[in-house]
């Protein structure tokens, strides 16, 4: 399955791009699996996902926990804790 991944703030800066489409390996079922998979794709990804537990996620623009199933997500966003307001 192909899915669009979007990155924000220092996750985006470390990876060096704001979005990409990736092919999900069959064993990537949850947000947590996805983060672990991405961290293997190169040193820029390893740097972005160095401390996986601080990474926040959204599936199709809704907040998602790390144990949430990706299902047939259209877009998954990965980013640091939010600092708006």
């Amino acid at each position: 399955m192909r899915v669009r991944i979007v990155y924000f703030a220092w996750v985006r800066e470390r990876i060096g791009k704001g979005s990409e489409e990736i092919e999900l390996p069959a064993d990537v079922k949850t947000v947590g699996d996805l983060i672990a998979h991405l961290a293997t794709l190169g040193e820029e990804y390893a740097a972005a996902f160095e401390v996986p537990q601080v990474i926040r996620a959204a599936i199709n623009e809704e907040h998602a926990e790390h144990d949430e199933a990706i299902g047939d997500a259209r877009e998954i966003a990965l980013f640091p804790p939010m600092t708006g307001g």
Binding site: H63, P80, G84
Partner: protein
């Protein structure tokens, strides 16, 4: 005036959420919630501004996740309307580079009585801080590349006080 009225419970409450680069006009936003009606006894506005952190910063740059930003704030605003019986609520969040002294965010909550208006604005800000996809990066006066602002434990705690038992 206000874009996007929404129905909450039995009454139509005005809910307006905007994500924009430009500044906002507080007086105009209050008027949009209160003009031509006589059932509102209290309006609370919150304005969040960019501080220079003791002269260190030349600007804050606000990055956001378009689409989700509006959706997340709208969900909080609608929850605030329902929870506190607001007659209306407006939230405007800017993005892009904002200089010290500039406006970042505006919330206006209107209600028949004062506690609801205070609670509505405060509730929205507490949840916006931790749930709305915005990130701040510091730009330094000395030209150096700044840091991303860290999330604060205090903001997570502020949110917890709204938990119902």
């Amino acid at each position: 005036m206000a874009a996007g009225g929404t129905i909450s419970g039995d009454t139509a409450a005005l809910v307006s959420v905007r994500i924009q680069t430009g500044d906002f006009d507080i007086a105009q936003e209050i008027e949009a919630l209160t003009g031509g009606r006589a059932d509102i006894g209290a309006v609370v506005s919150f304005t969040g501004l960019c501080r220079d952190e003791g002269g260190r910063l030349s600007a804050l740059e606000l990055e956001h996740y378009p689409g989700m930003a509006e959706r997340a704030i709208r969900a909080i605003a609608e929850e605030a309307v329902k929870r506190f019986g607001l007659t209306g609520i407006t939230a405007i969040h800017r993005y892009g580079a904002i200089p010290p002294g500039g406006n970042i965010v505006l919330v206006v909550a209107a209600a028949p009585h004062r506690q609801a208006a205070f609670d509505g604005a405060s509730f929205l800000m507490d949840f916006l801080k931790t749930d709305a996809p915005f990130w701040k990066k510091e730009h330094l006066k000395d030209g150096g590349s700044g840091e991303w602002v860290s999330a604060k434990d205090a903001d997570d705690k502020a949110k917890l006080r709204w938990r119902t038992p």
